[in-house]
């Protein structure tokens, strides 16, 4: 039940703020009151969520993510999600996930990812958009921003070839090789070598060689060997390595 249903947002904002703060102190669910406010006055909701005197409470701000559409009608998405992350850094994963699902191809997500995820920048954005047509574009944007560990991580979690291709296209050869192996671990039949060649050039052997230190299982080495049949010199080198490998 809303704790503010009898209050007028245009007149009673001080009271509304006090009631919500009291509600949160008591550990009650702020969602009914928030929904009530969102329906009656989206600007008042935006003021209490991301305004200069926003209520900095994790439960309150976490609940606000369900009203992202309403909040975006009052504030540009870029500023909205940036502000939410700055108000409650612990919520950054949830904020980034909502932002990425609502704006999968937005370029500002790249910088926001760096700001909030640090060394794993790009992971949340790319995982959230792995099934979206903007995924390749996003991989290229994060590669250009130098978000190498994030891209390698996404390659491993999704098995998709785009992270490795984006990394090699941006000249991050070691990370590209690492991402290639990670992708093959998840999806041994995926076209990661083909896509790297399509992004880099017809002779990707220098990149393929950089993958060797990352090969930790015979299964992945055999998979890579299958994809490299067209490069006889490298395939022969891999044959030698595979023979010496003991792990499955």
């Amino acid at each position: 039940m809303s704790a503010i249903e009898r209050l007028d947002p245009r007149r009673d904002m001080i009271l509304i703020r006090e009631r919500i703060e009291r509600l949160l102190e008591a550990g009650a669910d702020p969602q009914p009151s928030m929904t009530d406010l969102a329906q009656r006055d989206p600007l008042a909701l935006a003021d209490l969520v991301v305004g200069p005197k926003a209520i900095c409470d994790a439960a309150w701000l976490g609940a606000s993510l369900k009203h992202a559409e309403t909040l975006e009608s009052s504030l540009a998405p870029n500023g909205l999600y940036r502000r939410l992350v700055s108000l409650v850094p612990d919520l950054h994963e949830a904020v980034l996930s909502v932002a990425a699902s609502r704006h999968p191809g937005a370029s500002w997500l790249v910088e926001l990812s760096r700001k909030t995820e640090g060394s794993r920048a790009g992971t949340i954005h790319l995982l959230a958009t792995a099934g979206h047509p903007s995924f390749a574009q996003n991989c290229w944007a994060h590669a250009a921003a130098g978000h190498l560990p994030g891209l390698v991580s996404v390659a491993g979690e999704t098995g998709r070839p785009e992270p490795a291709a984006a990394l090699v296209a941006e000249g991050h050869l070691d990370a590209a090789a690492h991402a290639m192996v990670a992708a093959l671990e998840r999806a041994p039949d995926g076209p990661v070598v083909a896509m790297m060649a399509a992004a880099w050039g017809p002779d990707p052997v220098p990149v393929l060689k950089r993958a060797l230190p990352h090969l930790r299982s015979k299964k992945v080495a055999v998979s890579l060997r299958q994809h490299c049949k067209g490069y006889p010199g490298f395939a022969s080198l891999l044959d030698t390595i595979i023979k010496a490998m003991v792990n499955a």
Binding site: A136, Q137, W140, A165, A169, P191, V193, A194, M195, A197, A198, A199, W200, G201, P202, D203, P206, K229, G230, Y231
Partner: protein, 183 residues
């Protein structure tokens, strides 16, 4: 005597789909081929097709070639002999290739599907073929190749754009990268 050929990449996120490149030296003749096949097809399928072309080019019998024209002919025969099913969805009808051969008396350049060819020198690009020229024709694998451009003064590196390249001009800056040549 070294000779290399390059095909400019497409203006795309994946510029080199289906690209292949081979350089060989046999006796008095040097041969270089660069091209693409199934360039608008599935990435994996195009990759396989391109490797198939490279394998065919590497195994073409050049040892007995006595001159550049003979070498070009054998290279083309090797390409024509590939089963169309191994060349992607278009069965090789979209093949683009710049083929160059050089011997002691000069150099010959030919190939299907080209939109322009340049001599790539260290400080400049010299147009060899542009506009309306018999060397520039449709892609594919005709039984017999069209004309051969003959150069008395050989150049060690040639670069071409495909017939469907949107801007048939080239800039020297960053050209290697745009041809898929990496340090």
């Amino acid at each position: 005597m070294t000779l290399v050929a390059h095909l400019h990449g497409a203006p795309d996120r994946l510029p080199f789909v289906g690209h292949f490149r081979v350089a060989r030296h046999a006796g008095p003749v040097a041969v270089a081929v660069a091209g693409k096949v199934s360039g608008r097809g599935d990435v994996q399928e195009a990759f396989r097709a391109a490797r198939t072309v490279e394998t065919a080019l590497m195994s073409a019998p050049l040892q007995e070639c006595t001159n550049r024209n003979d070498a070009l002919s054998r290279i083309w025969d090797a390409i024509v002999a590939i089963d169309g099913c191994d060349l992607g969805a278009a069965l090789g009808h979209d093949l683009v290739a710049v083929m160059a051969a050089q011997d002691e008396s000069g150099m010959g350049i030919t190939g299907p599907g080209l939109g322009g060819v340049w001599a790539w020198q260290s400080t400049e690009l010299l147009p060899l073929v542009q506009g309306q020229h018999p060397l520039l024709g449709p892609p594919g694998r005709p039984e017999r190749l069209g004309g051969v451009l003959t150069l008395d003064a050989p150049c060690s590196s040639v670069v071409a754009v495909a017939h469907d390249h949107p801007v048939p001009t080239l800039k020297l800056h960053g050209l290697a990268r745009r041809c898929g040549v990496n340090p």
